[in-house]
């Protein structure tokens, strides 16, 4: 059974927070009525399709569309020639920045195809079938170039170069050699040599991880209508309507006010639906044919043409004294950024040692272009890979020292006041509390018996980024509040945000009616990503509540002819001397007290806060096939304050299972021709129901000092620990230490037979 009672480190009692109301959009979703991107229907709608490069690296010498144009029912064709002149400009998109020039080329190639699946041309036609016929009729003259799809090969001096103009961004003087290494990050603290000299035990290991994809179930889909008045309307599946607007407007050189983005219900994203792919292309096609254009990707296009997360090569070296105190740590991380610069190396370098106090450390990170799709954030971008390397090395060190893996983490774990290797000092955090909860858990205290079985544990860390959120609210005479927000709802955030307003006003969650609106209808709001939505947009909801409260007490004071500060507010009850009134009663009277009551709030919390988790896993390894079965799984995480515990558990369970897939099965499998061999959901196998057990959860609540209710975002941390935890469990079961992901049967079997 699931042991899911929150372990709270706060005495605060709440009325709404911590309860489990049914989500506001629930009925629409279980009846099939919710409007996802693919459900958009407009009069006169046409359908767009993209022609994609069959080559991983090729010069485009010419594109002949003459035959395709003549097909009956073909309305427009677009190529990279249709981009306006784009200057090199970098736009910040929440979970990373993007160079607009590169972004445009990623949406429709100019000059070169940089990966198999790279968009080359697009067609709008009466229906998808005709569009597909037209795509097949476009002739492209390619000069095939040598390709590179492995990070280590791409770093070699004689590697095929993707961008001849690229120079490494580094603190040192850049060399003038063409390179695929776009960035070198270096952090240093203490004295690394002295640190290793003080160690009794040193463990140094190399790790590799494969390219994996977010694999949301809903493919990318967008519809664009470029109106005769010059206004562009877009309906799309996106994690951020405003960032989609910004990217599209900048790529098409339009003022943002000329673009309206309506975010549809989104069928998953995990970071992969932050960049635009189809939106600007559909817009160009719509301008050309004067009709709405809908574009939907097929599954192979999602795998080959949208962002996976980086494959990596990593080295971690740790030194410790005999009694288990870490003295030094060194990390070398080489991450693929895909076809264009700007991968996930930044957070990778910040997260690699984020769970331990390390007096002496050096971190080197490299971001490297390869002939694969441009990498994109995937749930705690860059952290899972780094944690696989660090936590695995740490487990091996604990094993050599014969120290319990939880105890060695308690001994070295970060707490308030600890400094991360890259500089920041932690405020109040809940890592040690998670370790304690793990140690006391039913799972940890139940002996694991039976042959070929093992138990592993690992920790994980991720930030909560702040950034901008806006909301507005209006009070209805029936005692409900409409709440307009700009954060697209992927996992139930309409509810977790509405609950924070409800708590502030003291009314039931059901009486706040949240709505995700288009970019014309609410203030600027950053993406749903970075574990920021419940945290930052929730903060805005709290703030709008305070704004409303102030107005409400003024109205009460008007009714009772007293001063606003004489009105006592206790939950939803307003009192002055012997008079009292509930919020509902007040709402009904508001029309007689003056103007309608509306509130607004925007926030941009600075910096980031911190989320920690610890996972425990039991596995059984079949000695004949090397298939790993997950027998039992417990995820423990600090939620600060769990607004809606079911949704927190859901994030922990979903993240854990994605991590299990990453650990055991998922990978882009490449042939010698640098082409992906498994671009379908059959061959790129994400976990099914049958591959996993129930995922037990323990929520720890150490309030976040940077949030009025103590909230920490919880969406991303749970994908970080699984690969390292499972690797340790496999070692305990088989005596084999796996240092490469995925730990799939062929790879594990080979390692086991070489033992």
């Amino acid at each position: 059974m699931s042991d899911n009672s929150p372990i709270s480190y706060s005495d605060k009692k709440y009325k709404v927070l911590g309860t489990r109301p049914v989500r506001h959009d629930g009925a629409d979703k279980v009846t099939g009525r919710a409007q996802y991107g693919a459900d958009v229907q407009l009069p006169g709608m046409t359908h767009g399709k993209v022609l994609r490069s069959p080559h991983p690296h090729a010069r485009i010498k010419g594109i002949d569309t003459s035959i395709a144009e003549k097909i009956d029912g073909v309305y427009a064709i677009a190529t990279g020639e249709d981009w306006p002149d784009l200057i090199d400009k970098v736009a910040e998109l929440g979970e990373g920045a993007v160079n607009l020039h590169d972004l445009a080329q990623n949406c429709l190639a100019v000059g070169k195809a940089l990966y198999k699946g790279h968009a080359i041309a697009a067609v709008a036609a009466r229906n998808v079938h005709i569009a597909e016929e037209a795509i097949a009729a476009i002739r492209v003259d390619y000069e095939v170039l040598p390709a590179v799809t492995c990070v280590l090969d791409a770093m070699k001096e004689d590697a095929p170069i993707l961008h001849p103009g690229l120079r490494t961004e580094t603190l040192d003087e850049p060399s003038d050699q063409p390179t695929n290494i776009d960035r070198h990050i270096h952090f240093e603290t203490g004295d690394i040599d002295a640190g290793f000299a003080a160690a009794d035990v040193i463990v140094e290991k190399e790790y590799k991880t494969a390219t994996v994809h977010q694999a949301y179930i809903e493919p990318q889909v967008s519809t664009a209508l470029w109106n005769e008045d010059g206004h562009l309307k877009i309906w799309t599946s996106t994690q951020g309507a405003f960032t989609a607007r910004q990217q599209t407007a900048e790529l098409l050189q339009l003022p943002v006010s000329k673009v309206t983005v309506t975010p549809c219900e989104i069928g998953g994203g995990f970071g992969g639906k932050i960049p635009v792919y189809l939106e600007p292309v559909a817009a160009i096609l719509s301008r050309k044919c004067g009709r709405p254009v809908k574009m939907t990707m097929q599954r192979d296009e999602v795998f080959e043409g949208t962002g996976p997360t980086p494959a990596t090569f990593m080295k971690v070296k740790l030194g410790a004294t005999r009694d288990g105190k870490l003295t030094a740590g060194q990390a070398y991380l080489a991450y693929e950024s895909g076809a264009f610069p700007g991968g996930m190396i930044g957070p990778g370098t910040m997260c690699v040692f984020s769970c331990v106090e390390l007096p002496n450390a050096v971190v080197d990170g490299y971001d490297v272009c390869v002939n694969k799709p441009k990498t994109q954030p995937y749930r705690a971008p860059g952290a899972t890979q780094a944690a696989f390397a660090f936590e695995s090395t740490f487990n091996e060190l604990a094993d050599q020292l014969k120290i319990d893996p939880i105890e060695i983490r308690q001994m070295n774990g970060v707490k308030e006041g600890s400094q991360r290797v890259d500089g920041p000092v932690y405020p109040r955090i809940g890592y040690l509390e998670c370790l304690d909860a793990a140690q006391k858990s039913a799972h940890w205290n139940t002996p694991l018996e039976g042959p070929n079985r093992g138990r592993g544990v690992a920790a994980g860390y991720w930030f909560n980024i702040g950034m901008k959120s806006s909301v507005s609210a209006s009070i209805n005479p029936d005692g409900t509040i409409h709440l307009l927000e700009g954060s697209t709802d992927i996992g139930g955030t309409r509810t977790s945000i509405a609950m924070q307003l409800a708590e502030t006003i003291g009314i039931p969650a059901e009486d706040v009616l949240p709505k995700v609106v288009d970019t014309d209808s609410v203030g600027y709001t950053d993406v749903t990503g970075g574990s920021r939505t419940t945290f930052a947009t929730g903060m805005a909801a709290h703030k709008v509540g305070l704004d409303l409260l102030q107005q409400l007490t003024a109205r009460v004071a008007f009714l009772w002819e007293c001063e606003p500060n004489e009105v006592q507010v206790d939950g939803d009850v307003y009192r002055y001397r012997s008079q009292q009134m509930t919020f509902k009663e007040l709402a009904a009277k508001l029309p007689e007290t003056g103007d309608p009551v509306i509130g607004r709030a925007s926030v941009s919390p600075e910096g980031s806060t911190n989320g920690f988790g610890v996972h425990i896993v039991d596995v059984e390894v079949d000695p004949d096939t090397a298939k790993v079965t997950i027998l039992r799984y417990t995820a423990i995480q600090d939620a600060g304050k769990a607004i809606h515990p079911s949704y927190v558990e859901g994030q922990m369970q979903g993240g854990a299972v994605q991590g299990i897939g990453w650990a055991l099965n998922e990978e882009y499998f490449y042939g010698a021709d640098h082409k992906m061999r498994n671009a379908s959901l059959l061959d790129y196998r994400i976990p099914t129901c049958l591959d996993v057990p129930m995922i037990d959860t323990i929520i720890v609540e150490v309030p976040n000092p940077a949030h009025p209710f103590g909230v920490r975002g919880v969406g991303e941390t749970p994908i970080v620990p699984p690969p390292a935890a499972i690797a340790e469990a496999i070692y305990q079961a088989t005596g084999v230490r796996m240092t490469e992901l995925p730990m799939s049967p062929p790879r594990l079997w080979k390692a086991m037979s070489q033992r």
Partner: protein, 157 residues
């Protein structure tokens, strides 16, 4: 382009007629011609289960069924589960059990579960997981979905 054919089928209890090309899938016709957009397209090649509907009571992936094959058949989609403005207990269990996050897999899961519970009202966890293994969910980790199905089966006792 091949000529369109006229097909008659019972969809969610109503007799419906539609014209389709032989190359069109049932999913495409349900969504684009009949405006029944509850069934979702996740892969269009039979691997994700998001497009599951019931064909003569059996769950099928509608992206792999040709619309012309529906002639004379009884088809149930997610739009047909709730009756008379009331959610069915199964839908209620998914809602109360927080068995959905993004919700795009939900219509498929509901249809597969409906067929499962009609055939086997008291499945074990193993049987539930086996029957639902053709429906992929990337968000929930399946725990809450399996529990929602268990709760629905409980209620059916």
């Amino acid at each position: 382009m091949a000529k369109k054919q006229l097909i008659t089928a019972i969809i969610n209890g109503e007799e419906r007629e539609f014209a389709c090309e032989p190359r069109q899938s049932l999913l495409e016709v349900l969504r684009d011609s009949l405006q029944l957009t509850g069934a979702k397209e996740g892969c269009n090649n039979g691997n994700c289960g998001a497009c599951t509907v019931l064909l003569n009571g059996e769950p099928v992936v509608s992206c792999l069924v040709l619309a012309v094959e529906a002639e004379g058949a009884k088809i149930e989609t997610v739009e047909g589960i709730a009756a008379g403005g009331q959610l069915q207990p199964l839908q209620q269990c998914f809602l109360e059990g927080a068995a959905l996050q993004c919700g795009v897999c939900t219509p498929g899961f509901l249809m597969t579960t409906k067929a499962l519970l009609e055939r086997n009202p008291h499945p074990t966890e193993e049987e539930i997981r086996f029957q639902l293994a053709g429906n992929l969910c990337r968000c929930t980790g399946y725990d809450k979905i399996v529990r929602a199905v268990q709760a629905a089966a409980e209620g059916a006792k």
